[in-house]
Structure formats: structure tokens, C-alpha cells
Amino acid sequence: MSGRKVKKGFRLGLSYIILIIMSVVAIYPALWVLLGSFRSGKSLYSKTLIPESLTLDHYRELFHSKSILFGQWYMNTLKIAILSMIIGVLLTLLTSYAVSRFRFRGRKTALSTVLILGMFPGFMSMIAIYLLLKEWHLLDTHLALIIVYAAGAPLGGTFIAKGFLDTIPRTLDEAAKIDGASNWMIFTRIILPLSKPMITYLALTQFVGPWVDYIFARLVLRTKENWTLAVGLYDMVASNQNTNFPAFAAGSVLIAIPITILFIFLQRLLVDGLTSGASKG
């Protein structure tokens, strides 16, 4: 009996050790950047993990420097993210409501088309979109980014959202219809309130997009005042002439914090969103 207990204790102990090691590995990069952002000087190299002297200079630099317009970029990103989120989520919900609730000719073809189109390497279409935006005189505007992000939203989200809407009992719609509700009323009064978890999931993924897109935004936004955070941050790393690691670290922290907090708070919803494809699949 005791032999078994020892064995179990050994097993648990080993598990704890592995978990602790993994946790350290998981947290370490975040910690390293956070501490790095308080470090004085400009270099990447540091003798110790915890810097000898802590300073907030780099955060101040982000907002006051002439070459890094962090505050401006923050507002740009926020504006683009919120607007494209609202439009994109609405478009996605409409699309998924239509394909989930109505049966019409060409429906399955439309669904397969959306699926296949979603698989094209995104920036293959960038040249064409670039030329299109040039044609419509939208280059270097935030409107262009909002339109493109929002128009792309149904491609990414429709399938997940449709899977969710499929689980809302159709008897609810039918009951409402008997009571004389129009399709639009059913959508706003029944479907929307019931799909709050799905809306949160879609909104979050759509919101995060502009914060991390550095490829397309870099192509469209030409003047520094119009940049988004991702473009600015990438520029801080990629342009080699003025490497300033602590400033980059401070910028990373400021971008990562809101998004990381959102993700951790909405963890459960994200899990539902992730698995809804799998379990019902």
C-alpha cells in the first residue's frame, strides 16, 4: 500500500516540476520584455534579468519623441479597430444568419466558395487591392483599412458563427413568426441577444486584427502620422539604423497589455469559439 503511495507522490511531484518549468518558459519572454522596458540605456544586452536601475524614460520617449508618434498611432489603431469591428461583426452576423436560417438556391455553393476563398494566401490579393485602392483614391487613408478589414470579416468568421447559430433552436423563430414578427425583428430580438458569446468572440478577433496587422497596413499607410501601432512597432525593429531595444520593449508592453487582458478575461468564450468548430465538426 505504501509503495503505491510513494509511487503516486513521485508521479505528482514530477508533474509539478514539469508544470513549473513550463510555466517559467511560458511567462519568461513576457517578463523579460516587461523588465527590459524599464532598463536604462539603449542596448539589447543586459547582465541580469532585473535591471540595476529602473526608469520610465522609454515610456516617456514613446510619447514625446519626434520619430515615434506613439500616441497618434494608438488613436489611429483604436479608431480603425473599433470601426472595422462594428462593420465586420455586423456583416458576419448577417451572412451567417442568412446561411444558417434560410434555404435558397446556390446556398451550398456559396458556402463552399466562402470556404475556398478563405484559403488563398492573403497577401496574394494585396497587389490587386492596392491597385484598386489607388484607383478609388483611397491610398494612405484609414477608410481603406476599415473597408478592407470589414469586407474580409465574413470570410473568416462566417463558418464559426454559422455553427453557433445552428444550435439556436429554430422553434424560437417559428414561434415569433406565428406572432407576426418579420425576419428583421427575429434577427434583432431573438438571434442577436442569444448569440452574445459568439458576438464577443467575433468582436474580439476582429478588434485584434488591426493591432497586429503589419503587412497590409504598411503597404497602404504611407505617411508616418497615419501609421498604426503594428506598422510603427515593426518599423522600430526592422529599421536597423536606430535600434533602441528598451523603447521597442516599452511599445510592445503597451500594445500587448490591453489585448492580453482582453484575451484572459474572455478565455472561456474563446475556448467555446475554438472548439465549436471541433466538437460539432
Binding site: S46, A98, P121, M124, I129, E135, I259, L270, A278
Partner: protein, 433 residues
């Protein structure tokens, strides 16, 4: 009583809206007439030129006129403009057909003695019975212009000679060349060597990265889910952090951490008395680095997924196994593992497909480097997608890039369609309720 039908049809063929006006649906008729007017105005100026443009891609090169360079046709602009016009034209034709059909049907009803709908009634009819189609038209237009048009454009580029240095507008014209680009890519020694080299690394990468993250996630999920482990929620939250940090940030940070000269990883190895490794600069070690970093990014996702599945496995299956005297390992092998594999298989396939296209992981971390000497503009860790990116934005070899893009698309589409076709949600979607 045939006359209503034929008259309305002929009138609506002559011009949009006339049939409707004949059917006494005045508002609808005027709306259609306005569309027609816009169409004539727009297409009379553009349609002919766009047809010419898409066939010839422009025929006037840049030339010297009285000692000054005069710009010729810009083939690529012409191609895009032609495509946009033709797309509008297709939309217009569809509308036209709808208009004729509508006039015909209304007239048919009139012959039967049914009064045509008033404008209010028409709107109501659309909201009640054509709801899905009218709702979908908005996203559909977005997809048409920002996804389908670019894809058609890209496919067309693969059949032109649009590439640096000899065929870049506005200095030079671009021409159709048929399958020449594909032939070059697959048979020309310099190109095919790069292509197959990059392709094989892409496949190795996709397999390794998918399996390492999956196995890692499985291991962590089982560890946390063990009986007797305390603070399950805490472990989970800690281990999910890499997933919550935006990849753009975490990968750029990793790039600094693995820096061979100043990065902390080599620094710590130095403390342990080991020499530093060329993490990002040696072809072999760079490959190891991207796989390891990808594990850091990807394990949390698999962990979440698998933990979700673990909660759905019915307890009585384990009880039954206990009664049969199964050991812990046997329970895992016979109950847990098959259940997990069964429910995560579709996600696994999608992850594999996603990894083939995992642009961020490579581009942000190594940029595809270190450079390989006998490759055409590609490095040791370049995937097909990142190579494509370099071909497009750095080297302006647009036609070659498009050909590679089409090949990537074919690979991914095969996986995804196979996967999608065998999922339940496609086969029996109406069975859910």
C-alpha cells in the same frame, strides 16, 4: 391574353424598367430606368476599352517624342481597370436578367387577374421571402471586390510576363505568355531547385510544427487534468499566456531573445559554461529555433482544445474500464486517446493546412534567413508563402509569385475541402434540430 406577357417582356428587354412601368409599377420602373441610365453612361465610356485592355494589355510602349519620354500604356493598371469594369458589367447583366424575369412574371400574374404589387408590397415581399438573398448581397459585394477580383487578377498575372527587370510598367509593356511561367518554375534549373527545396522544407515544417504542438498540448492537458493536481485553474491560466500575447509582439521579442550576440539565451548558456549557438544564423539551428518557438506559441491552443475534449468524455467509460481491471496506461490508450483524436481530427488537419501558410511565425522570427546561396531569393527557413512575399514585394517577380501562389492554394484547398466534406456540419446540418 398573351399580350401582357410578351409586351412586358419585350419592353423590359428594350430598356430596364419599361416593362415594370407597363405593369403599372411606377416606382420600381423608375428605379430600374435610373440603373439603366447609369449603366449606359458608364459602360459606353469604358466597356470597349476594357475589352481591348484585357486582350492586349496595352500596345503603346513608352516612347521618345520630340526629345521627351512620353508614357505609354500601363499594362497592369489597364488589367485592373478592365477587370473592375467587367465585374460591374456582369453585375449589370444579372440585374438586367432579373428585370426581364420580373416584368415577365408580373405580366403573367396580370393575365391571371392578379393585381401587380404596389411598391410597398414589393418591399415587404423581398423582406419576407427574399430576405437571405437581399441580406447577403452586401457582404457578397465586399467579397466580390476585395477577394474574388484580387484572386482573378492574381491568377491572370501567372499567365503574363509581369516581372522585373524586363517587364515592369510603365517603362515596358506586359504580355500574355500562357503557361510559360509554370514551365520555368518547374523545369528551369535555378527556379525548380529553389521551388522543390522550399516546398520540401514547407512540408517538413508543417508536419513537425503540427505534431510538436499537438503532442505538447496533449501532454500539458493530461498533466493538469491528473487526479491530485492542485490549482488546475491557475496552471491553465499561466500556460495560456503565450496564446494571449499577440504573435506580432511575442515573435519579435523571441527574435531578440535568440539573438546570437546579445540575446539572453546565449548569455545563459554562457553562464552554464556552454558556448552560444547560432540560433538564427545557421541553416540547421534556425530551423530548430522556428520549430521550438512555434511550440511555445502553439501548445496553448492545443492544450485548450484537448482540455475541452477531456471534459466531454463520459465518466462511465472509465468506470467500465476500472471494472475490467484496466491500468492507468490502458485507460489512456483505450479510452482517452481515441476520444481526443476523434474529436480533434478536423482541427488537426486545419492546423496542418494553417501551418503550411504560417507566414507570421517565419517572417517575424527569421525573415526566412539565413540566405541560401544557390536559391532564387529564398533562405533556409523560407516557406512557400514567405518566399512568395519576397518574390512579390522585394523582387517584383509578380508572375512567378502568382504561379507559386496558385500552387499553394491548390495544396491547401485539397486538404480543406477534403476535411470539410467529411465533417458532420456539412453532411447533415439540418439534423441538429
Amino acid at each position: 391574353m398573351q399580350r401582357h406577357r410578351s409586351k412586358a417582356t419585350i419592353l423590359s428587354i428594350l430598356s430596364m424598367g419599361l416593362g415594370q412601368i407597363y405593369n403599372r409599377q411606377f416606382i420600381k420602373g423608375v428605379i430600374f430606368l435610373l440603373v439603366e441610365a447609369w449603366g449606359i453612361f458608364y459602360f459606353s465610356g469604358n466597356l470597349g476599352r476594357s475589352l481591348w485592355g484585357i486582350v492586349t494589355l496595352g500596345d503603346a510602349p513608352r516612347r521618345l517624342v520630340k526629345g521627351k519620354w512620353l508614357d505609354g500604356d500601363h499594362s497592369i493598371f489597364i488589367l485592373v481597370q478592365s477587370l473592375i469594369t467587367l465585374l460591374f458589367f456582369v453585375l449589370f447583366i444579372i440585374l438586367y436578367i432579373m428585370n426581364v424575369r420580373d416584368a415577365y412574371k408580373t405580366a403573367q400574374n396580370r393575365e391571371k387577374g392578379i393585381k401587380p404589387n404596389s411598391f410597398k408590397q414589393s418591399v415587404r415581399y423581398i423582406m419576407d421571402y427574399k430576405f437571405a438573398q437581399s441580406f447577403l448581397s452586401l457582404p457578397a459585394i465586399g467579397i466580390l471586390f476585395f477577394t474574388i477580383m484580387p484572386i482573378i487578377f492574381m491568377i491572370m498575372l501567372a499567365f503574363t510576363n509581369y516581372s522585373a527587370p524586363n517587364h515592369i510598367p510603365p517603362a515596358k509593356l506586359v504580355d500574355w505568355v500562357g503557361f510559360q511561367t509554370f514551365r520555368d518554375l518547374l523545369t528551369l534549373k535555378t527556379w525548380s531547385h529553389t521551388f522543390f527545396g522550399v516546398l520540401s522544407w514547407t512540408i517538413i515544417w508543417a508536419i513537425l510544427s503540427t505534431f510538436t504542438t499537438y503532442l505538447g498540448g496533449l501532454l500539458v492537458a493530461l498533466l493538469i487534468n491528473q487526479q491530485g493536481i492542485k490549482f488546475k485553474g491557475l496552471w491553465r491560466t499561466i500556460l495560456v499566456i503565450p496564446y494571449a500575447i499577440p504573435q506580432l509582439i511575442s515573435l519579435l521579442v523571441m527574435r531578440n531573445m535568440f539573438n546570437g550576440q546579445f540575446g539572453p539565451i546565449n548569455q545563459y548558456l554562457g553562464y552554464l559554461g556552454l558556448g552560444g549557438l547560432p540560433w538564427l544564423t545557421d541553416p540547421f539551428w534556425a530551423k530548430v529555433t522556428v520549430i521550438v518557438v512555434n511550440m511555445w506559441v502553439g501548445i496553448p491552443v492545443s492544450m485548450i482544445l484537448i482540455m475541452g475534449v477531456l471534459t466531454t468524455i463520459p465518466k462511465d467509460m472509465y468506470e467500465a474500464a476500472d471494472i475490467d481491471g484496466a491500468s492507468g496506461y490502458q485507460k489512456f490508450r483505450i479510452v482517452t486517446l481515441p476520444m481526443i483524436l476523434f474529436s480533434t481530427a478536423p482541427t488537426l488537419i486545419m492546423q496542418f493546412a494553417g501551418n503550411i501558410n504560417n507566414f507570421g511565425a517565419i517572417y517575424l522570427l527569421t525573415n526566412g534567413n539565413p540566405v541560401v546561396g544557390d536559391y532564387q531569393y529564398a533562405g533556409a527557413t523560407d516557406l512557400l508563402v514567405t518566399w512568395l512575399y519576397k518574390l512579390t514585394l522585394d523582387q517584383n517577380k509578380y508572375n512567378m509569385a502568382s504561379a507559386v501562389g496558385i500552387i499553394i492554394f491548390l495544396i491547401i484547398a485539397t486538404f480543406s475541402i477534403y476535411n470539410y466534406r467529411r465533417t458532420k456540419s456539412f453532411k447533415e446540418e439540418d439534423m441538429i434540430q
